[in-house]
Amino acid sequence: MDKFRTLTSTIVPLPIENVDTDQIIPARFLKATSKDGFGDNLFRDWRYDKQGNPIKDFVLNDPTYKGEILVAGKNFGSGSSREHAAWAVAGYGFKVVVSSFFADIFRNNAMNNFVLPVVVSDSFLSEIFASVKSDSAMTLTVDLEKQTVTNNHTGKSESFSINGYKRECFLKGLDDIDYLLSKKDKIEEYEKGKSLL
């Protein structure tokens, strides 16, 4: 996997709260048996009408906004545990999602697919939405080493948290399975202890 250190990008704003996984990727697109192609159906029912024509005023169809950072309203990714939602976000080309609150499972799934969820305060989030309204070309900078996110329009920064282990995984491009496989002896030891109970 690609390593992640810092990213400066224009943003795609989605100032809607409680965006659930059924909106991110509707259930009828869950039938694939590989991880590819989900980006095409990200926000499918907001993005295309019943005939499959793009809905003009939806942000992904608006050429004014593009970039590798999705900025979404509070409580992003609630609902189902489908990792397809994370594949869709990743597949579309987002590397970072910024919100003031993420549903737990989505957050894990995003990280397992090297999409970095960045939690900011409600006020910082509103400011981003205000900035992008006045300047659609504004950028955010996410610095994983320093754990800061900067609104380059206002110059304001905020720090975000991520546990040390996951941070290492992102910085080095490693995944959890590699790590777990290296710990098989520990697992077998645990199982032995358990059967004696």
Binding site: G73, N75, Y165
Partner: protein, 463 residues
């Protein structure tokens, strides 16, 4: 001074990474056809076997038709997912209940039915409603497909330990109020994100009084307020339910297990990160009026008015009501509906069918509405027939379909058409959940039964 959750969690910690997550041992992994293919494929790519195949149980449930299950699945993409699970289960030698098998059904209904889900266990599945199994007095939660792959490969997942919350329902439920109403009431108070980051223990008089089916319904909906999972301390109700089930321990092992299970409760001085108290006697039969499960109210109440909403939530609220075709401040009682769905891992158990059948007995299905009665598993179907409930239902003009997830997420043919209203006993009323444009009103099996015989949103206590 440990909570029940701490006790089970701590007993499953393999290691804790410094400034990182815990490596947690998983006793049982459940897999269905939608969230597992990429995980099995990942194993193949890495050249790995399933580490503990005896602890993995798979079954297709999401895509399967609810009619003519003996015939091949018509939709080619659904068929491919189910065939892929068939192949994966065979290739990797895990426990498998295929379509048509007497043990097939919705995973979260089947697991407890056969004693695969037991008190004190850790259980995961690539499915958020895995929280259902917490009713056994276990730690059960949904995971993503990458994590399914981790468990297949190592029987472990990485998890950050959630915070603990206790929700107590004191007092007694009123007549005509069910576990589903408790859950919808709770979510309406907590909101859909109100328990994010927490694992919830349900306690109090009204929870103790619930049957195992009722506890499963309550734990099932934990995820709808954002909780990682929910659980209920095991007690005599639990032991009586588990005893004699096919994969439950027997003989000496049973005695040993029960002795251990009896230690599984929160200590008297246990500290929770958060405590919530509800008065069970306040709860009315519930319905939802919006497009998330937190938008619920007593069936005879009025939709909240937009002015009551916080500024930041008004746009979403208006969007939601617009989708539902409801107006701010209006009453929903008496509104005509088009579909009724009884089923899902929330309310597809024998008790739900008993409640529904008992209510419609001697009445008739309303004209012009479509009613889908979908048992959660073949075991539920068998019991329905054994108890003669199928006859009662038939006489009232209803027919049973075959088990599966069905209209809960409409991955098979059971889709509610755009713009139509469905009173549904499932768990999610998200936009398009039951079919593109479908309008879902979540409710318990009694409100569903009342809607099925009147064709309208009805308070079942009025009939």
């Amino acid at each position: 001074m440990n909570t029940l959750f701490d006790k089970i969690w701590d007993a499953h910690v393999v290691t804790k990474l410094e400034d990182g997550p815990t490596q947690l041992y998983i006793d049982r992994l459940y897999c269905h056809e939608v969230t597992s293919p990429q995980a099995f494929e990942g194993l193949r790519k890495r050249g790995l076997d399933v580490f503990r195949p005896a602890q993995v149980c798979c079954m297709p449930d999401h895509n399967i038709p609810t009619l003519h299950q003996d015939k091949p699945i018509v939709d080619p993409v659904s068929k491919k997912q189910v065939d892929t699970l068939d192949k994966n289960a065979k290739d990797f030698g895990v426990q498998y209940f295929p379509i048509g098998n007497a043990k097939n059904g919705i995973i979260h209904v089947v697991g407890p039915e056969y004693g695969l889900s037991l008190p004190g266990m850790t259980m995961v599945c690539g499915d958020s409603h895995t929280s259902t199994h917490g009713a056994m007095g276990a730690v059960a939660f949904g995971i993503g497909t990458s994590e399914v792959e981790m468990v297949l490969a190592t029987q472990c997942v990485f998890q950050t330990k959630p915070k603990t919350m206790r929700i107590r329902f004191e007092g007694k439920l009123k007549a005509g109020v069910l576990a589903k109403d408790m859950a919808l009431y709770m979510i309406s108070k907590m909101t859909t994100g109100g328990a994010t980051g927490y694992f919830v223990e349900y306690a109090g008089e009204a929870v103790r009084a619930l049957s195992m089916e009722g506890r499963m319904t309550l734990c099932n909906l934990s995820i709808e307020m954002g909780a990682r999972g929910g659980l209920v301390a095991p007690d005599e109700t639990t032991f009586a339910y588990v005893k004699g089930r096919e994969f439950a321990p027997v003989g000496e092992a049973w005695d040993k297990a029960v002795a251990y299970w009896k230690t599984l409760k929160s200590d008297g001085d246990a500290l929770f990160d958060k405590e919530i108290l509800f008065d069970a006697s306040e709860i009315e039969p519930m319905v939802t009026y919006g497009t998330n499960p937190g938008m619920g109210m007593g069936v005879s109440s009025s939709v909240p008015s937009i002015e009551e909403m916080e500024e930041s939530g008004r746009a979403s609220f208006a969007k939601s009501l617009d989708y539902m075709g409801f107006k701010s401040g209006e009453k929903l009682m008496g509104k005509p509906i088009d579909y009724v769905f009884l089923g899902s891992c929330t309310n597809g158990r024998i008790e739900d069918f008993r409640v529904f059948a008992d209510f419609v007995k001697g009445k008739k299905k309303a004209d012009g509405i479509v009613v889908w009665l979908v048992p959660g598993s073949w075991a539920v179907d068998r019991q329905i027939r054994q108890e003669g409930l199928d006859k009662v239902l038939n006489e009232a003009g209803f027919e049973l379909r075959q088990p599966g997830c069905s209209a809960c997420l409409a991955m098979n043919e059971d889709k509610v058409p755009a713009g139509k209203y469905a009173v549904s006993t499932s768990n999610r009323n998200f936009e398009g959940r039951q079919g593109p444009g479908a309008r879902t009103i979540l409710a318990g099996p009694l409100v569903a039964a009342a809607a099925a015989v009147t064709g309208k949103i009805t308070d079942p206590r009025m009939l």
